[in-house]
């Protein structure tokens, strides 16, 4: 495979033929190489299709390829490169964020940190004798002496032993750690330990609970599974599971998602300002890396709570190399709610997860399968039943090719989602979407500059039956092919300044191609990560987008359409400026942001009591500030987050304008939560753990009714003034002028783990909404009826896990 040799131009990449995949087998390349070959073969075919359809695009692609070559050659010098993987010796899991230090004597020469695959790379090392030290919190430090000489690339894989004692040595810190108090221009890295601190009515924490505790993230309530990030809507969030898109991973019960803490390896959460590696969404990115199974020994767990029960098994298929992990969960709250809280809660969900992982000397490959199912009545008085299910298949390979400086990461994925609303037997509206995607990412690590580039191809098929809900969009099908790529660089100017420019281009067939330049930078005025200024700016484009009818309780039903506003794609401009300050055990982050969204399809607001509306284009101005204060010292952890947000939509709503007035109406959409406060505290002495969370949210906008009557058209009015009812009319004020009551809730949990030689037994007790606040979820103006969120809900849970 020529592209992997260090002296070969990447300009050849697009022309690699599918046949080369077969050659890779003969040549004895790794499985990862084969996957890369297949992927590139597909790009070759797609590329030729592009050229046939639009020769103009040839120029763009040529410029892109040339940029790859120039950037690559700029960093391909001949010093020694040290690289490898860092893993947990007890289970083979990659350790993300481990520090690697290269020392001469006691002097630090160079350093690095492992990425989301547990990979590190230190380039341009002068030949000589060094001590390498690998450290990670909770593990014994690994030290080794290396003689670096003639070899251009030296590979070392390190397995760290877990240690019960906290390490007292931090050799280098090249990057800040994860944690809610750490925010880098919209990016937060989330580790399972962070998630565990949020009280959850189950033995395991959940990603969605953690996200809901972050400023700038708004959920409409404790059911429905919709998250709005810094003013963006759920369909504008890019959610990846092992590199593959997943549409609706948040369960109908708002405490749970398809990402429980014990299955997660790492989450990169971008509330905005993400770089060009990510494309196709305009608001946020939630990039979840699921962990693999234990490749050292078999393990399993069984858990039970009033909300759900689950089983997990994992173990080696070939010790030290191949492993599997399987997990199944199903909800129980539908059955337990009448006894637990004295009311029905007809909500149910299940999820299944399976992962195979292979660990080689220089690569990691995995295959993941996920299926989720949700069903329920958001409003128990209503006959409307919401259903959705996701199916995701993801293949991923990452690693270094021998004798090459290129680190590559290749993904292939298949995703399917279906959601429906209506009666239990016959949905009135339904929408399906499936995607096949393949993408490849390459990185060359340099001393001062790291260059990355990649390609993607994806096909989406969108079908929907809307029963006239959206006028002109009754039954239809969209098929969309998108190809594109990106190039970017991380340039470490000096110890104070990092600059990360990137450029993404997307070529959607039958729609306009887009160039999306983006820039991220970090400035450390005192040369230490304890004080850092971060900034990001970028352009974003989204071709297919979800539409909701905001009159649905919780806006759960989503139909995905390809650029429904006469082909106009949704676009966004992001700007972020933030400051991070670390002092002692405290971390403080404050970040201001601005988003400008255009061509957002929204329903034309209608007072007519029928489930039909029309779409119009809206633009949105969003700005806000996220502030976080985090404290951690030994067994005590505390976090306080405050978010201020201001969201305003402007859209054309002709019938709201009196004659002679502008038809443009401005309003604050239903997810405009102006103030948000979250407080989390955790105490973990020994085998005991206590967690508390209090959350407060200002009231969300809603449309106030003025009253009710009936109305007739003139034709009926003149002929049957008394014997015809006409049409019921709700007299509404202008849309979203009112505010629902404020929301606040206190959740607590306490757990104790009994440890034996063979297993751990965790007993947990806790309560949701401890002071039984009547938090309004939904108000039915037709029946003058309020639907509240969960009342005080006590629970106990048990989890048995083999060691």
């Amino acid at each position: 495979m020529s592209w992997m040799r260090k002296d070969v131009s990447c300009y050849r990449v697009p022309w690699i033929s599918l046949g080369q995949a077969g050659l890779a087998l003969h040549a004895g390349y790794t499985r990862g190489t084969l996957l890369v070959s297949i992927t590139l073969g597909m790009y070759s075919l797609l590329y030729r299709i592009i050229l046939q359809r639009s020769p103009r695009l040839h120029i763009s692609c040529f410029v892109f390829a040339l940029a790859c070559c120039v950037l690559t050659s700029a960093v391909s010098a001949q010093e020694v490169t040290l690289r490898g993987f860092v893993a947990d010796a007890s289970n083979g899991q990659s350790l993300i964020g481990a520090n690697i230090a290269l020392l001469q004597g006691q002097a630090l020469v160079r350093g690095g940190i492992t990425n989301e695959q547990g990979v590190f790379n230190i380039s341009r090392i002068v030949p000589g004798t060094y001590t390498v030290a690998v450290t990670y919190v909770g593990y014994t430090t690994h030290r080794d002496t290396l003689q670096l000489g003639d070899e251009a690339v030296v590979l070392i894989n390190v397995a760290l032993e877990p240690s019960a004692e906290a390490i007292d040595e931090v050799v280098i810190t090249t990057e800040r750690e994860a944690g809610a108090g750490t925010l880098e221009a919209g990016l937060q890295r989330i580790r399972p330990d962070d998630i565990q601190r949020i009280p959850t009515p189950a033995p395991s924490g959940d990603l969605v609970g953690y996200l809901q505790a972050l400023p700038g993230v708004v959920s409409m309530g404790d059911r429905g599974g919709q998250l709005f990030v810094r003013g963006g809507t759920p369909s504008q969030n890019l959610i990846l599971m092992d590199g593959a898109l997943i549409y609706k991973p948040f369960h109908i019960i708002g405490f749970f998602s398809a990402f429980p803490e014990d299955l997660i390896a790492n989450v990169d959460f971008y509330a905005g300002g993400f770089d060009a590696r990510y494309s196709g969404r305009i608001s946020s990115v939630i990039d979840v890396t699921m962990r693999g199974g234990n490749n050292q020994r078999a393990q399993g767990s069984v858990s039970l709570s009033p909300f759900l029960t689950g089983v997990r098994v994992e173990g080696p298929l070939k010790k030290g190399q191949n492993s599997f992990l399987a997990a199944v969960r199903t909800s129980l709250i539908e059955q337990t709610a009448p006894d637990l809280i004295g009311q029905e809660l007809p909500l149910t969900f299940q999820d299944w997860f399976f992962k195979l992982q292979s660990v080689g000397n220089s690569s990691r490959c995995s295959g993941s399968f996920m299926h989720t199912y949700d069903r329920g009545r958001i409003d128990i008085e209503s006959d409307d039943v919401f259903k959705w299910q996701n199916t995701v298949l993801a293949g991923q390979c990452a690693g270094f090719t021998p004798n090459s400086k290129v680190y590559s990461n290749v993904n292939m994925g298949f995703t399917y989602v279906n959601n429906a609303i209506g009666s239990a037997d016959q949905p009135e509206r339904s929408a399906d979407a499936w995607r096949f995607n393949t993408d490849a990412h390459f990185t060359i690590y340099g001393d001062e500059r790291e260059v990355s580039w990649g390609f993607f191809a994806r096909t989406d098929n969108l079908t929907y039956t809307l029963a006239e809900q959206f006028q002109g969009l009754d039954n239809n099908e969209d098929f969309l092919i998108e190809v594109g790529g990106y190039v970017g660089s991380t340039w470490v100017v000096d110890e104070k300044l990092d600059i990360k420019p990137s450029l993404s281009f997307t070529i959607p067939f039958d729609h306009k191609a887009g160039l999306e330049p983006r820039l991220r930078l970090a400035w450390r005025p005192w040369g230490t990560v304890a004080q850092e200024l971060n900034a990001a700016v970028g352009l974003y484009q989204q071709t297919f987008i979800g539409i909701n009818d905001e009159r649905d309780a919780g806006s759960v039903f989503t139909a995905w359409l390809a650029a429904p506003l006469d082909g106009a794609q949704a676009r966004a401009l992001h700007g972020i400026l933030g400051w991070h300050q670390q002092f002692g055990a405290f971390k403080l982050s404050a970040e201001g942001y601005y988003k400008r969204l255009t061509n957002i399809p929204v329903p034309i607001w209608s007072a007519v009591a029928r489930f039909t509306t029309r779409l119009t284009g809206a633009s949105s101005n969003i700005y806000g500030v996220d502030t976080r204060l985090e404290f951690q010292q030994q067994q005590l952890y505390a976090y306080l987050g405050y978010g201020y947000s201001w969201i305003e939509y402007t859209s054309r709503q002709d019938h709201f304008a009196l004659p002679g007035q502008s038809p443009l109406q401005t309003y604050h959409p239903p997810h405009d939560r102006r103030h948000q406060l979250n407080a989390v505290a955790s105490w973990t002495p020994g085998h005991f753990e206590a967690n508390v969370r209090w959350q407060f949210g200002a009231g969300l906008p809603y449309t106030q009714p003025l009253g009710f009557d009936s109305i007739m058209n003139v034709f009926t009015f003149l002929q049957y003034p008394t014997t015809n009812f006409g049409q019921p009319r709700v007299l509404f004020d202008k849309p979203y002028q009112g505010r629902l009551p404020t929301y606040h809730r206190l959740d607590v949990s306490m757990a104790y783990t009994f440890k034996t030689k063979r297993m751990d037994l965790e007993l947990q007790a806790g309560g949701i909404n401890l002071y039984d606040r009547d938090n309004l979820f939904y108000y039915d103006v037709f029946e003058l009826r309020r639907v509240d969120q969960l009342p005080f809900t006590p629970y106990v849970s048990i989890k048995i896990e083999t060691r």
């Binding site: 009196l658 009253g707 003149l718 008394t722 009812f725």
Partner: protein
């Protein structure tokens, strides 16, 4: 110890206080009291008006009692004569409406006021100036027959003396193929096909198009109804359905929503075979 107990007690009180139920008033603050929908018709001997108390759900309420605490009065302004209107209740699939009525034949060109008063003091009202009488519309020569093959020329209609045209409605009758059943009736609104010129409203009754649209063999009669309204009548030809549902567009009720107007009308027969009379 004492301090610890005080702190704990304070925290408990705070927590219990936080949990107190908060009242939520979903309605927007406004001064409107009633919805009043109706009109006075110079060609009817009884007048009706639909009155609803705003902020009182009607859609799923089922049968309800008369609005005993509401008084509806119609006043002839030039004479001061007052007519108390009586409630009558109609149920439509669980929804209830209140149609108040009184025996009265209003006079053209006269002014009336309707006042709806709640026992609690809230009041909505509207003033109506009845339209003037207008001449019989001029209609072109009717064809000899109304079936395919006859002269297909539409009938021209010219309406004069009308300040605000409310409706132009054409009613056809037809004889079903099975001769034992009663004649059928088709109503077609021509209001939106009527244009205003300097001296008149004009339209053309395209009976052949209507015949084909209804998939019928022939019409037996054509009747024309022209309704003239007072100057307050909304121009329904420029408002879509969405706009009609918004209270700020079509309302002449003080301290309320809805519309109360006055009409006069002319009916005339344009063609009649005698079969369906």
């Amino acid at each position: 110890m004492r301090m610890w107990i005080l702190t704990t007690r304070s925290l408990l009180l705070l927590v219990l206080g936080l949990g107190c139920e908060t009242d939520f008033e979903p309605f927007a603050e406004n001064s409107e009291v009633f919805s009043v929908i109706g009109y006075l018709d110079t060609e009817r001997d009884s007048q009706f008006v639909r009155v609803e108390v705003l902020q009182d759900g009607i859609f799923f309420g089922g049968p309800r009692d008369p609005l005993d605490d509401v008084e509806v009065v119609l006043e002839h302004l030039s004479t001061g004569q007052r007519f108390a209107m009586q409630d009558s209740i109609s149920w439509f699939s669980g929804a209830t409406v209140h149609n108040f009525w009184t025996p009265l034949r209003p006079k053209v060109g006269e002014s009336y006021r309707i006042t709806v008063t709640h026992r609690d003091g809230g009041q909505s009202s509207a003033r109506v100036l009845m339209p003037s009488a207008f001449p019989t519309p001029a209609v072109g020569m009717a064809p000899a027959c109304l079936l395919s093959g006859c002269d297909p020329t539409p009938l021209p209609v010219s309406i004069t003396g009308v300040e605000r045209l409310v409706a132009v409605i054409v009613t056809y009758t037809y004889q079903p193929l099975s001769g034992n059943t009663a004649c059928g009736r088709v109503r077609v609104a021509y209001t939106n096909e009527t244009t205003r010129t300097a001296d008149a409203y004009r339209t053309r009754i395209d009976w052949l198009r209507d015949l084909q649209a209804e998939n019928l063999f022939r019409f037996e009669t054509i009747d024309l109804l022209v309704v003239s309204g007072d100057s307050e009548w909304p121009d329904v030809t420029v408002l879509d359905e969405e706009a009609l549902f918004l209270p700020q567009f079509v309302s002449n009720i003080d301290n309320g929503v809805g519309f109360f107007g006055g009409v006069t009308r002319k009916s005339m027969s344009l063609f009649d075979t005698g079969i369906c009379r």
